[in-house]
């Protein structure tokens, strides 16, 4: 690689990195916590979920409870396991029956608690776990702008890591062993940026690609639909095996609906380790009533084991079957792998803990990149005005990024103290608190101060988290472990570990600053 090309690519790496840095940091930071989305939610609610990765309610029980509140005849009913929470998502279509009451002619979406059988709307069951999860793709910004913003951030991130690996290519082996933590701060930034960037590269590549896929799929697929399918979305969906089958309503009632759980039992005995994640009933109570059971084999046994079966209830015949025990189709495998790789939900706690650490390492790589950008421009040839501008950019960047840590910790404390917190409460406290803290740190104009106080505040608030949980629930970590409430115990232990790590880094940081002062350099 020639000198010109090296410098050109170096510059594109710097500029693209600086432009996306804050958005990318927020995505990685909130995203890292999202690996524990379900644990956070169960911790917040004080729930323990025993049956995971599948619908934890008998279909007949669910229907009888729904039937008490809603007139079900003529509706399409969809029960869906989204996450490992106690509740399942319920979606009811408007009744297709012309004799149905006015109330039955409107659809509904809500959650059904699998234990106490209560129902709740989406805002009612909003939690901190959901908030952090949605923050990592900017869902709080109105659709589709938030989604596209995060998607393009992922795409430009792909560009940044590609140029990063290219410019680092020749020094990849030699520099891997170069780490001069006791030299000066600038070499700490550069050495750690390249070493950790390289270690994190495969991880980051996967997340950039899958993240872009999730958020920008509609944009990259648009030309194919237009050219290959003449704009016919349905034909395109069919080719990608993502069409939804619909069944006509016959207006002939089905006499006496028998138990549907025999179908789910049949599926589970037929397909070993099959986890039902979706139950779909078309035309409830009609001669054309169909039951579709979808799910997958436990990924620990078969990574790509997507299965689906449709019964016609009137004659109990199977009208469609996708056997999960057999080799899955290419479409199913690709979609399954892309989402499993992103969610890291196929290998238990270990994988998610490693992913969390790699996510935080990515956060570090982003911020060290910003610091390199700053110190590399702190030289005589740069005008004072430009230097001042660069400095204030970094003051703001660090203020916004680093204050996320104490804010997240504080939010854990708040949702427990003011339970049930709900959507408005979380929005208000988190965003206003974050804004105030960012403005305060930016106003202080001291990067060391911002870093120290963010870490310190985060660590102290983090230690309060198990304490608040004890005050509110009366259970310490060991109580929760004894009660087999592993999700709850996990969050307490997780925050203690994070706090201890933050305090240790803080101690190291103080030593580094003292050392740097000795060598007469400031940053």
């Amino acid at each position: 690689m020639g000198k010109r090309m090296y410098n050109v690519l170096f510059h594109t790496h710097t500029v693209s990195g600086i432009v996306i840095s804050v958005a990318l940091y927020i995505i990685f930071f909130a995203g890292s916590f999202s690996f524990f989305r379900d644990e956070i939610i169960n911790w917040e609610r004080g729930h323990q979920v025993e049956i995971k990765d599948e619908i934890a309610i008998n279909i007949d029980t669910a229907l009888s409870h729904l039937g008490q509140q809603y007139e079900l005849r003529g509706r399409d009913i969809n029960l869906r396991h989204y996450y490992n929470e106690r509740q399942v998502g319920v979606s009811l279509s408007a009744s297709k029956d012309s004799t149905a009451s006015k109330e039955a002619r409107v659809g509904a979406f809500f959650y059904l608690d699998t234990e106490d059988k209560s129902t709740a709307t989406y805002p009612e069951s909003y939690t901190l776990g959901e908030f952090l999860y949605r923050l990592h793709f900017f869902a709080q910004i109105p659709y589709p702008y938030g989604y596209h913003l995060s998607g393009f951030t992922a795409f430009f991130f792909l560009f940044t890591i590609l140029t990063g690996i290219i410019i680092h290519w020749r020094k990849i082996v030699t520099n891997f062993y170069v780490f001069r933590p006791w030299a000066k701060l600038k070499t700490i930034w550069t050495d750690s940026h390249t070493a950790l960037g390289l270690i994190g590269f495969p991880f980051q590549l996967v997340y950039a690609l899958t993240g872009a896929f999730f958020m920008l799929q509609s944009i990259v697929m648009a030309p194919y639909i237009a050219v290959l399918y003449n704009g016919d979305q349905q034909a395109f969906d069919k080719a990608l095996e993502q069409e939804h089958s619909t069944y006509e309503y016959s207006h002939r009632p089905l006499s006496g609906i028998e138990s549907l759980s025999k179908y789910t039992a049949e599926v589970q005995s037929k397909w070993i380790d099959f986890k039902i994640t979706e139950l779909k009933i078309d035309n409830y109570g009609d001669q054309n009533m169909y039951l579709t059971i979808s799910g997958n084999i436990d990924p620990r046994n078969k990574m790509n084991g997507i299965g689906k079966i449709t019964y016609k209830v009137a004659d109990q015949n199977i009208v469609y079957e996708k056997n999960p025990m057999e080799k899955n189709s290419y479409a199913d495998v690709t979609k399954n792998i892309l989402s499993r790789l992103h969610l890291a939900d196929y290998a238990g706690y270990g994988l998610r803990i490693i992913s969390f650490i790699l996510g935080l390492i990515s956060c570090y790589v982003i911020l060290s990149g910003v610091m390199i950008w700053l110190v590399a421009r702190d030289k005589k040839s740069v005008s004072d005005k430009q230097k001042k501008f660069n400095q204030s950019v970094v003051f703001w960047y660090l203020a916004i990024c680093l204050s996320m840590y104490p804010m997240v910790a504080l939010e854990f404390v708040l949702v427990k103290l003011f339970a049930p917190a709900g959507m408005t409460f979380i929005y208000k406290t988190f965003f206003i608190g974050w804004l105030v803290l960012s403005i305060f740190f930016a106003w202080k104009k001291n990067n060391a101060f911002t870093t120290k106080w963010s870490l310190g505040l985060g660590a102290v608030l983090g230690l309060f988290i198990p304490l608040v949980n004890w005050i509110e629930s009366g259970n310490w970590i060991w109580d929760n472990l004894r009660l087999a409430c592993y999700d709850i115990a996990f969050i307490d232990i997780f925050w203690i570990a994070l706090s201890v790590f933050s305090l240790l880094s803080l101690r190291r940081m103080k030593q580094a600053i003292v050392l740097d002062k000795k060598s007469g350099k400031t940053f």
Binding site: P223, V227, A239
Partner: protein, 93 residues
């Protein structure tokens, strides 16, 4: 460090040409190549593969757009690839 400015494109128009060629042109080339592949080979397999390969190709084309000295040349090359693919699509219809 930082990049030596003597190697970088100085003109704003050049910068504009490279960014647009990489971002818009790169997207177009990636889409066009995938469409041609979808016509030649199994359509659904190509389209499903494109859910990740299109981003990879697009981002590589974005990087490549910065290599030539003249950004308009990149536009010319990318546009001719798109037109060539367009011609293949028309021939197959």
């Amino acid at each position: 460090m930082p990049a030596n400015p003597k190697y970088l494109a100085q003109s704003k128009w050049q910068r504009f040409a490279k960014i647009t060629a990489g971002f818009i042109g790169g997207f177009g080339v990636s889409a066009a190549i995938h469409i041609v592949l979808a016509i030649w080979f199994d359509r659904s397999i190509v389209l499903i593969t494109s859910s990740f390969s299109s981003f990879l190709l697009w981002s590589v084309l974005f990087v490549v757009a910065y290599i030539p000295r003249n950004g308009w040349r990149v536009w010319a090359i990318y546009l001719s690839i798109i037109l060539l693919c367009g011609a293949i699509v028309l021939l197959h219809q």
